[in-house]
Symmetry: C2
DNA sequence: CTTGAGTCCGACTTATTTGATCGGAGATCA
DNA sequence: TGATCTCCGATCAAATAAGTCGGACTCAAG
């Protein structure tokens, strides 16, 4: 349950790879093209292309056309959060169909719904969680995210 | 993204309804049948039945057959967590396909995978989150779950 | 004991989403 | 100019979820 799509998976891998090349290496200005990533991680080329397109459209990476072209991180790795990446590929976060109340978009159960409010809270918590972890954090195995709740007080990791 | 299935939705509603009848009301021993819930929340009858079956099979509720039959909460509402409910309906929690390493179940990207470890941590955090919230909590608008992470220190709700 | 209303339960069909693919247009550098 | 590479839309196939159907069982009243 709560599985994220493979496209989102690919997006994370690709971004991390780009970040790695751009940061850790001695070749700071190097661009990285689709093929390179696809072969490295055994990802279907065309599908990965689609993913990268979406990422660039959402301002996560910059695309450079033509020969010697490729992709570049749009901002610092510490300013790109997991939530942003995932939302670029799949829609906005929403546990239920009726999380985001559009006009007229009425859930059949809305009237007597008893789970809307608590679920929205859970959803919000998950969002904070995803939005507090950055690409940077994913690279260096840096910080752990800890949860505090009334029932699991003091439980660490 | 991260949408839970409608069946899981229905499960939460149904369980909360059962808990409400069994606890808050003056009819402590009353059983509640499928039809009652289905009509109350506009849920397809047969589908809800399926959901309830799964729940009973996983020990969340008890089923009583025959006329005047129906469902009963198997344990106290404060001992049923959201995570348990969701896992009864959908499979076990897993952000990626390769979260649970079965034998021979090798992810194509496993060798060079750079996102496995951090994602598992995120997954674990989410699980703690879901597992720290009980049916009881959902009923009375009781406790809020708070998150603490290095980057959002001090941010409350 | 018989009967029948009411329920549980598994198999089946249909709809929706996701994964993956193809072909062409536009841009850049040698 | 020409070759190479990215970008972008439309399209096809597979997986999953949503919803439906009919039979087996159980209890309680008559
Ligand atoms: S399920 Fe739509 S409002 Fe609760
Ligand atoms: S995606 Fe399977 S191991 Fe990382």
């Amino acid at each position: 349950m709560l599985k994220i799509s493979k496209k989102a998976d690919y997006a994370l891998m690709a971004l991390q790879h780009i970040a790695l090349v751009q940061f850790g290496d001695v070749t700071p200005g190097r661009v990285v093209n689709t093929k390179e990533i696809a072969e490295e991680y055994n990802i279907p080329l065309e599908l990965l292309a689609k993913v990268l397109q979406a990422l660039s459209k959402n301002g996560m990476i910059e695309s450079h056309n033509g020969p010697k072209g490729g992709y570049l991180l749009a901002r610092n790795a510490s300013h790109i959060t997991i939530a942003q990446i995932l939302e670029s590929i799949e829609g906005p976060l929403g546990l239920t169909d009726c999380s985001h109340e559009k006009d007229g978009d009425f859930c059949m159960q809305r009237e007597h719904c008893n789970i809307r409010t608590p679920l929205l809270k859970v959803q919000d918590s998950i969002y904070q969680l995803l939005n507090s972890m950055t690409l940077q954090d994913m690279m260096g195995g840096t910080p752990l995210i800890t949860i505090q709740s009334p029932s699991t007080q003091g439980v660490d990791r």
